[in-house]
Subunit: 265 residues, 4 copies
């Protein structure tokens, strides 16, 4: 019997956490948010995800048979100690208001685990702008955005890919934050989903990357103020992605001086 895949669900956990609402408001005010939008991004989020987004994602993954733990920004070492990572096959990542609060040391640690160790990484929604995702991509990872609670329709583009398992040819998110192209990432090794937005944009919403021994999946949907991580299709994608991104057991990366394998005359 195969051992269950061990998943660590990481969440910034500021939007949903009353102790951090003042911080979130201060940061978003810098972006020009005010009034109801600030309330929505804090108290509003809390009503949608009362125990945090990580709780909802973790519950789903547990129900799928994975061995799941959670970790959040405010824990020591952001909850990503060497011991935790030793026991992590796949790390899912959600962050938004406090990307800069993630320590560079932990970013290096996670990068090393992915690139050299083969740990999978699932970057969710606003994690496009997390330090770890930007470091793995090598580009700006910026994009267009709009909060207008408009409709998104996600089309499957690569029907034979395991991340599309169990999905219909498209699914809809009735109210979503728009992300638009350019999405400044390298062309994915495999492009699984492309989104249509009511307001006129498109977006590469499901992007697979090999990086060293590790596998990285970016999944666009998800927003702090909307109940997208309760939607079955979004959850199906996340669990499919965990299975796809789990370490495959390929050879380790061996670098440096290498004696000849053949006689050099």
């Amino acid at each position: 019997m195969a051992k269950p895949i061990r998943v660590t669900v990481w969440n910034e956990f500021w939007h949903e956490n009353p102790e951090r609402h003042a911080d979130v408001k201060a940061r978003l005010a810098n972006y020009g948010f005010s009034g109801e939008r600030l309330l929505n991004a804090t108290e509003g989020v809390q009503s949608v995800y009362p125990d945090g987004m990580h709780k909802v994602i973790a519950d789903h993954l547990r129900a799928q048979g994975f061995a799941v733990r959670t970790a959040t920004l405010d824990e020591p070492e952001h909850g990503l100690t060497e011991t935790v990572l030793d026991e992590t096959d796949v790390l899912t990542w959600w962050g938004h208001a406090a990307h800069d609060q993630v320590s560079d040391e932990i970013v290096e640690r996670v990068h090393e685990r992915v690139n050299m160790g083969g740990m999978g990484l699932i970057a969710l929604h606003s994690a496009h702008y997390s330090k770890i995702f930007k470091k793995l991509m090598g580009t700006s990872c910026m994009l267009k955005t709009r909060e207008a609670d408009e409709k998104e329709r996600i089309w499957v583009i690569e029907q034979g890919h395991p991340i599309a398992a169990g999905l219909p040819e498209y699914f809809e998110i009735p109210q979503t934050e728009m992300y638009g192209e350019p999405f400044d990432v390298p062309a994915p090794d495999t492009l699984v989903f492309v989104s249509w937005f009511q307001g006129g944009e498109i977006f590469r919403s499901g992007c697979c990357y090999h990086r060293g021994r590790g596998k990285v999946f970016y999944f666009r949907p998800g927003h702090e103020t909307l109940p997208i991580y309760y939607q079955p299709e979004a959850l199906t994608v996340i669990s499919n992605a965990v299975r796809w991104a789990a370490p495959s057991g390929g050879p380790e990366l061996v670098f440096g001086d290498h004696p000849p394998l053949e006689k050099l005359d």
Copy 2:
């Protein structure tokens, strides 16, 4: 408990079959083979694979827990009836001397199963020039070749790919037929292996492709006169590839007239 993946191991089965030795000799004589080489390509092959290559591959896959059957060229419909294909998740293919004897109808049938149905296809060695592989690639699929029993060293290039599971960073085949570039195929979606040859050539030896709903893997090693399909690393690759190429359960391909999903004003 997941059902086992159902594999059909297809083999031309002429080199190993005394009833077809005259045909093989006649065909190879046209390529300029004579004397000992003709004997080697028939009676010689029979001594290496007395029950056919398909038997050796099928035995390995059965030992891995797959549900395996075999099929060969000389069977009615080449053993690939609609019923057999209904019960096939992954088809492995080996052919060499009699590619042209495969009926176009069966090629269309297999193509449809891969492209529309999601059946996996593993093309082995000289299957690079089979009708089905050429049809799926859209290029000439030609390459350089040399039979000199030289050494091949196969390097893993994408260490995080599931087809590399359980492999060392390279493995060697002590005596092999050389295949050299240009290998006229489209650049693979994922390049997993590259071979080094003693005589000075390199080759893209493990190539993954999505085609419609199906997945296709080309694996270079294997030759009728050499015991390569008894070598553990080659067998590991084949069973890994079967797991990778098995249908994923993604959405069906729906084409044609499509009513608008949004109001057109």
Copy 3:
């Protein structure tokens, strides 16, 4: 001074040609078209492209400094004699109602020119279902479709690609035929454009492929009944694509028996 790139603009030229209107109507009637739609697909087309779509495309390319000729289905050898192809660097292809009337011999000839000779091929709009494009892709090349004169917005996805030269970040086609995913082609080597449609679909509208020594570009826009090939952005894409697809002067493909380059002991 570099010689101008030599382009042959190929067109089925049935929709725009009164002598073929009866044939077009008979064929489209089989698809269920009737009444005004049949008139639109013949007399209507003629009013938009009185001298054929090839004339409009060729005029644009001539104005760009290319050496341009045209060829059509009803000419002997479809206008694609060996001599014409000897003098062709890039072939653009538009067909729709009469794909099956293109002889297999000419398809083989064009395929050989692309794959072995390095001639560029630009497949336009309904050429997605031409014999030559299907042969080069290896998949069904089918897609969703709808004629509702809706809006299309084409987003540039790979801003550094030469086919995006001179374009804004998106451009619109006010009235278009919809093509929707799944578009059953291999994932392109480079995806340059993705379309948004008013009715709710998306489409990979600009797809680059290397095939052997040749380069292939698929460009979605263009429809017989709409003046899309008069639109500056569409014409810019076509001339950019011609420059990109022109032969690069790389090495020829050499196959077959290859003596060792290194001593085999």
Copy 4:
């Protein structure tokens, strides 16, 4: 008449510069080099490239009609001022012993120019481990290595790519430093060359990447102690790569808040 492409040839210029020989020796001693190898890496290099590698590369590019300047590590701002970069279409980069001496500010500046501005970057040989290349790749960029003056044979894999223009199907470097896989970079968008090494390794020697609006090419050959940058095939690759990597004039990257293009009801 098109303006010539403006190239800046950047070189660390320590190995070839007597004023830096002590620094080079101190650094290489840390890697375990001693005696004749240290002399070879300093005075030896100087005899091969008396005016620096940049001089040889720049002379070749000037003869090809490009507008060329050079820049080196020890110049103010490493010679890469905003003004110089304003006038640079393509930057070639060679570094080895002093990667860490390149200031992070200049690395950010070059990255911005590539990613946002569309400047081309050609990373040569040991530039695989330069800060700028590592930042653009997102992986460790490590590899295997051996200095044994063995033979390398570089095979063209993508014959239709413009960087292969004018090359034979393979070319040889009689004495080279070996670089072996794993080469820890993302799978290239296009793999143009693969190397065979006498000692038994292979290597992805010509790798094309789109990054934002920019194009990046990695070219393996070249070593401070060997006259590889006098070899015509290597020089042909470099000038081909400059033409390929030059800015294409595509749209700028526009990010951030985006008003809807369609009415949201």
